[in-house]
């Protein structure tokens, strides 16, 4: 029995070493379709790499910091906030777990007077894995990344983090430069990503409900507590999505009730705007440039900024 247990422990250790050796090899020698659980994509969709590089070079305080998902970095255009200095730290499907890390890393750097936190309910219902891989791939990884990986406890996040640590350590990305224009996206200084005038094709959505995850709610509470401690004003904003998508959720009242309980200003712009599902969006989630202009104007008026 002793020999059996020793061999098991020995094999597990051997497998662990093998795993750490294989991750970079596998990433570099096999085609992408053989890596479904290793999603290291520097300079991926959404210009997160450019945003992180810019925030690191940020000098001086900003008036407004935007946080949230792609609804944030595609919804708040700094050019529409002319008199204010803004920065957008939104990222793909950014859940409160990732928001918390970004705040811990960069809040002092930008030292905002106001935070407009875009709270898309989908990010509270998400496991946060997709967003974790976006963040891990495009930012340097510290002990917070490891904590996030343990918190999410997902093999995709672990694999991606292991590879990212190699990339950080050996500086594999030192020459990487992300183009400002990618496909139909253009990165605008200040963290915004512009999608030129495209219109949306209307889809039918099946009825569903939002179900918030406990770990996301916990992380959100921690973010809010952290910002309160720093005495930074926070405004929660539910940015517009198409009416078709919005109305497909039967518990939107629950969402409003949930965010209202924080004793912060909360605005659901799906109730405050009358945008056109076809002409003001380029898909069911994202506003096009015309939609962004309209939304930002209403936002500025509503928030009296």
């Amino acid at each position: 029995m002793n020999s059996f247990i020793k061999k098991i422990v020995g094999f597990l250790f051997f497998s662990l070493v093998f795993y750490f050796v294989m991750i970079p090899l596998w990433k570099n020698i096999t085609p992408v379709y053989m890596q479904p659980n290793l999603k290291y994509q520097i300079g991926s969709f959404g210009h997160m790499f450019s945003r992180i590089q810019e925030v690191k070079k940020q000098k001086g305080d900003v008036d407004i910091l935007f946080l949230g998902s792609s609804h944030s970095y595609r919804g708040f255009d700094p050019r529409n906030f002319k008199e204010k200095k803004t920065f957008n730290l939104g990222s793909n499907s950014q859940t409160p777990i990732q928001t918390k890390i970004l705040l811990e890393r960069y809040l002092e750097k930008v030292n905002p007077r106001l935070i407009i936190y875009e709270v898309y309910p989908g990010t509270f219902s998400s496991d946060g894995v997709e967003s974790s891989m976006d963040l891990i791939s495009n930012d340097k990884n510290d002990v917070r990344s490891l904590k996030m990986a343990f918190q999410l406890n997902n093999i995709k996040t672990y694999n991606t983090l292991v590879y990212a640590k190699y990339a950080d350590f050996f500086n594999w990305n030192k020459d990487f430069k992300e183009p400002i224009k990618k496909s139909k996206d253009t990165y605008i200084s200040g963290g915004f990503v512009e999608m030129k005038h495209l219109t949306n094709t209307i889809h039918k959505f099946s009825n569903k409900e939002w179900h918030f995850k406990d770990n996301q709610v916990k992380a959100f509470n921690e973010c809010i507590a952290f910002l309160k401690k720093k005495k930074i004003k926070v405004i929660l904003v539910y940015a517009p999505i198409t009416k078709g998508l919005y109305q497909s959720y039967s518990n939107n009242d629950f969402v409003d009730h949930f965010f209202s309980q924080y004793q912060l200003e909360y605005y659901n712009f799906n109730r405050l705007t009358k945008l056109n599902d076809t002409l003001d969006f380029y898909d069911s989630h994202h506003l096009n440039t015309i939609g962004v202009k309209k939304f930002n104007k209403i936002l500025l008026n509503t928030l009296k900024l």
Binding site: F11, F14, Y33, M34, Q35, P36, N37
Partner: protein, 483 residues
Amino acid sequence: MLFNSIDFAIFLPIVFILYWFVTNKKLTLQNGLLLLSSYFFYGCWDWRFLFLLLFSTLLDYFTGLKMEQVKTQKSKQFWFWLSITVNLGFLGVFKYYNFFIESFAAGVSHFGLQVNTTTLNIILPVGISFYTFHGLSYVIDVYKGRIKAERNFVDYAVFVSFFPLLVAGPIERATHLLPQIKRERTFNYTQAVDGLRQILWGLFKKIVIADSCAEFANQIFNNSAELSGSTLILGAVFFAFQIYGDFSGYSDIALGTARLFGIELLRNFAFPYFSRDIAEFWRRWHISLSSWFRDYLYIPLGGSKAGMLIKVRNTFIIFLVSGFWHGANWTFIVWGLLHAIYFIPLLLTNQNRSNITIVAQGKLLPGVKEFFQIMITFCLTAFAWIFFRAESLSHGLQYIGGIFSKSVFSAPFDFEKISYKATLILILFLILIEWLGREQNYALERFGFKWKRPFRWLFYAFLLFMIAMFVKTDETPFIYFQF
């Protein structure tokens, strides 16, 4: 609690340690632990069904004792039929009640009659088909005098509910498993290591092969009306490997887990996709069920000793019952019927036992004839699997209609987000390893035994790495749990 879950990865070592370090001094304690952990394992699905399992166990246990105690044949028959009726009654209610009611209503509606039917919202207790068949085999064996009735209730209850086999088999026989439960068990290093190796291979087949195939098979079957014939063929192939990886993977984990406790379960799979005809396929696929039907249905009906007409009738009965055992749906019955149709020509020409040896034994590659025989048998089984997977008969027929269309000559549909190239490579890897290991009980049993330990470990670590690379982040249940 699924075999491919973190819960099981915690549960198994705990039971293992308690079994060999705490209760190892006394067999009764070991069996008590196995019983408790089995009931805990089963209760994790739905604790309410523990009562059903307990009732079924008590019924068969007392039936066994009563059949030995009573003096007249009539009384013995009474107890025997009571147990059979109640066992099959439970199975009928939980598994087939709605099917019969709905089929009856649909049948009479063809004659213009409308009947008010009441269907019940019945949850199928997981594993009911498996533990009912355990109990039935025991009662039949005691009735026929093949074994003595078991007097120790704990031992009997472990036989019925031993957690590795409780929810999806293999369907054990009292003659095989009970003596092992009653025997003192000492830790056997070779057996335990072999068990772990089989678990590893089972996990690989389930997590890497079956779950990868499922991703495409589900998409293709769910959208079959819009896809080309070539894509539908690909879907049928993916499902064939999904169900093989899923069920044989489950069986490997079950057998390997039992080995960790010093117990050998019946072999359930023997490389069925290397079969050269359908008869051989059925000697290699879900062996414990096929042999159960052979011993408890086919032979009592007259078996192969009767005339040709009776043999043909019995073959149809066996395959139809086998299809129906899988579920209350006409698709399973048609699946069974198709296999009967494949089998009958072999029976009529006395060819049903012409391929009983291992294919290309001692050779690296099969002969040309063997290769084509294997391919044809695979195509026939994959074709039948279409009905097994289809939602309804009309769906199955529509799927087959789609295959036999002009679009079969077009390139398969390119799924944008996920590439099936990886799945095809993984299937080829599976075929390679299984082919090399086909002379063993399971592919990995002697694989790399001539290699030095570091190389062998490298291969096992590679399998673990592949699991880490391909595991789906949501737990995916085993297909056979629904039966």
